[in-house]
């Protein structure tokens, strides 16, 4: 007992150092972006802006291309998510519970898509899309977004379905439920929180995806992150990019709040096999 008490009072210096380092690495860039978004005037060599204000918020939100990009991003995410759920969940269940030829090869092929440089893969897809007249179209971007976050929507639900105790499903069959009813009433609710976590990660991934959206969608379809990059690259004023970046935090912030309330951190861990 005494030994335990002594150990508790010891200061965990490596832990503190690691926490500080993580905080600096994560918080510092966010703080800089936040400062830029509310800086009316900030010139070198000043460490803090000379003048704070909402001038660039007014300027950014007055632009029609910003609202157009936001509307496209929302439409895109709302279209992609149900499609992805309809395609991926049955596939994930099949990978988790059924035996079929080339199961493992197919399963790992989803990982393979992420094992190579993504841009090369996108260029190859763009060549196919060009022939199919999908370049510069909304549905072309939808298709590329479906491919983009397939990994989250297959691997995490597979782990979720695998972690459902088979005895629970058998108990449901035993009291009279058919296979479909077992899936709907037992398997899905049991795997639900982890699947919700996967959908959330996938939503955030879709909302912020830039490479595919730019390569397939440009110039007609410009999502908010693509617009933000063009602001940062083409505008001498940093504040436009910073304001758009702050606006882009809103959906992920809402999604994470929802996740914290509804899903719980354990679901993320279970999705990754913990």
């Amino acid at each position: 007992m005494a030994a335990t008490t002594l150990r508790r009072t010891e200061t965990d210096w490596p832990g503190i150092a690691f926490s500080v380092l993580l905080t600096v690495v994560i918080i510092f860039p966010l703080l800089v972006v936040c400062t830029w978004a509310f800086a009316n005037v900030w010139r070198f060599p000043n460490v803090i802006p000379q003048q704070f204000g909402l001038r660039y918020w007014h300027d950014t939100l007055a632009r029609a291309d910003v609202w157009n990009a936001l509307w496209i991003s929302i439409r895109l995410s709302v279209t992609v998510m149900p499609l992805k759920t309809i395609i991926c969940l049955p596939a994930a269940y099949a990978f988790a519970r059924l035996e079929f030829p080339f199961r493992n090869v197919l399963f790992f092929s989803f990982l393979a898509a992420h094992a190579f440089p993504k841009f090369g893969l996108l260029v190859a897809i763009a060549a196919i899309f060009l022939q199919l007249h999908l370049i510069g179209t909304f549905w072309g971007v939808v298709l590329i977004q479906l491919v983009g976050t397939l990994l989250f929507m297959i691997w995490i639900p597979v782990a979720a379905f695998q972690s459902v105790d088979r005895r629970m499903e058998e108990a449901a069959r035993d009291v009279g439920a058919g296979p479909l009813r077992v899936f709907w009433s037992i398997t899905l609710p049991q795997a639900g929180p982890t699947i919700a976590a996967a959908i959330l990660l996938s939503f955030v991934g879709t909302f912020y995806e830039t490479e595919g959206a730019w390569l397939i969608g440009a110039p007609a379809i410009s999502t908010t992150p693509v617009l933000m990059i063009s602001f940062i690259n083409n505008q001498p004023v940093i504040q436009y990019g910073a304001v758009l970046s702050m606006i882009l935090w809103i959906p992920s912030f809402i999604a994470l709040m929802f996740a914290r309330r509804v899903i719980g951190s354990g679901a993320f861990a279970r999705g990754f096999g913990a």
């Binding site: 105790d165 629970m168 058998e170 108990a171 069959r173 009291v175 439920a177 049991q190």
Partner: protein, 358 residues
């Protein structure tokens, strides 16, 4: 109520035969235990009856109807799993009512039945609780209630108390027996605990390597085991290899009447039927350890060749470790080629205390 029949049921997983031509009839309202070590095929038999595994050959009949190819949801069976398998996203009421809802019973009827079964398993007022808010024993009662509420013809219990502590296990198995007798439901109970099987069964089916070794009443299985495996698996049994010469079997320092042909044989004596006397011979068996259980002494005896035997004696006999002993069996069985060939009481005159045989 119902009668269950297994006719030559076999189950193979690839090249492995998990269950080998098992035939069994369980009568109306009977409680039969499938008892055996891990891997003996007892759970596979239960899963085949429940419809969760399909026999490679043979047939499962309930009240004369062949249910071999019937899916679990259409079988008149109810199964209680070792892991309870309660649905954590439903409360106790939801767990028990699920099967009733599938049968589209009116809400009032569902409530009445759920409350009645909760009362039966001693959990009245627990309907609103979540499974994680219950103890292991309470969870197992909910699992039992979930099966009983549907009034199945056959109740299947797959090691239902294995995850509970000893004290709770003893209490729950008596409760289950009470409920089973009150409801009069035909029950098949899988366990690897001999105490459990002996205490609640009408009959015990002892299984080994997918085959049935013996089917009998608990007292018969204990007192008249047909094979050395059953003898060793049910209760404690001293099994000693020996040799029969001229109608007497010499084994482990004992020499008893065995009216069988000369040749090798195995002597079986329960610890409670092995009496001890002090010996003065220097190479006589020795008391290696004496454990006082309060109600009796368990004397661990070491023979000359290192073989260990156990004898159960009254505490008043006061045996001490290191004492030299003469072994005097009272009731014996003799096995040859895996089957019992002689069984009987041994009179004092029948026993020749040849302590040096070991």
């Amino acid at each position: 109520m119902a009668k269950l029949e297994l006719n030559d049921v076999t189950k193979q997983f690839g090249a492995t035969t998990a269950v080998d031509r098992v035939s069994l009839t369980v009568g109306d309202g009977e409680l039969v235990c499938l008892l055996g070590p891990s891997g003996s095929g007892k759970s596979t038999v239960l899963r085949m009856i429940g419809g969760f595994a399909t026999p490679t050959s043979g047939a499962v009949l309930i009240d004369g109807e062949d249910v071999t190819g019937m899916p679990p949801e259409r079988r008149p069976t109810g199964m209680v799993f070792q892991s309870h398998a309660l649905w954590s996203h439903m409360n106790v009421f939801g767990n028990i009512a699920f099967g009733l809802k599938l049968r589209r019973l009116p809400r009032a009827e569902i409530e009445r039945k759920v409350n009645a079964v909760l009362d039966l398993v001693g959990l009245e007022g627990y309907g609103g609780r979540r499974p994680h808010q219950l103890s292991g024993g309470q969870q197992q009662r909910v699992a039992l209630a979930r099966s009983l509420v549907l009034e199945p013809k056959i109740l299947l219990l797959d090691e239902p108390f294995a995850s509970l502590d000893q004290h709770l296990r003893e209490r729950l198995r008596e409760e289950v027996r009470d409920i089973q007798q009150r409801v009069g439901i035909t029950t098949l109970f899988v366990t690897h605990g001999q105490d459990e099987a002996l205490s609640i069964s009408d009959r015990i089916v002892v299984m080994r390597d997918g085959r049935v070794e013996q089917v009998d009443r608990p007292d018969i299985v204990y007192r008249q085991p047909r094979t050395p495996f059953v003898a060793g698996f049910i209760g404690q049994m001293n099994l000693v290899e020996g040799e029969v010469h001229g109608g007497r079997l010499a084994a482990g320092g004992m020499n008893v009447v065995a009216p069988i042909a000369d040749g090798p044989a195995m002597l079986a004596v329960r610890p409670e039927f092995l009496e001890l006397e002090e010996s003065r011979q220097p190479d006589a068996p020795v008391a290696h350890r004496v454990i006082d259980y309060g109600t009796h002494l368990m004397v661990d005896i070491e023979l000359k060749d290192g073989t260990r035997l156990k004898a159960m004696t009254a505490p008043a006999e006061g045996w001490k470790a290191g004492q030299r002993l003469t072994l005097k069996p009272r009731e014996i069985a003799v096995y040859r080629d895996g089957v019992v060939v002689h069984r009987g009481n041994v009179d004092a005159a029948d026993t020749t205390p040849v302590a040096a045989h070991g």
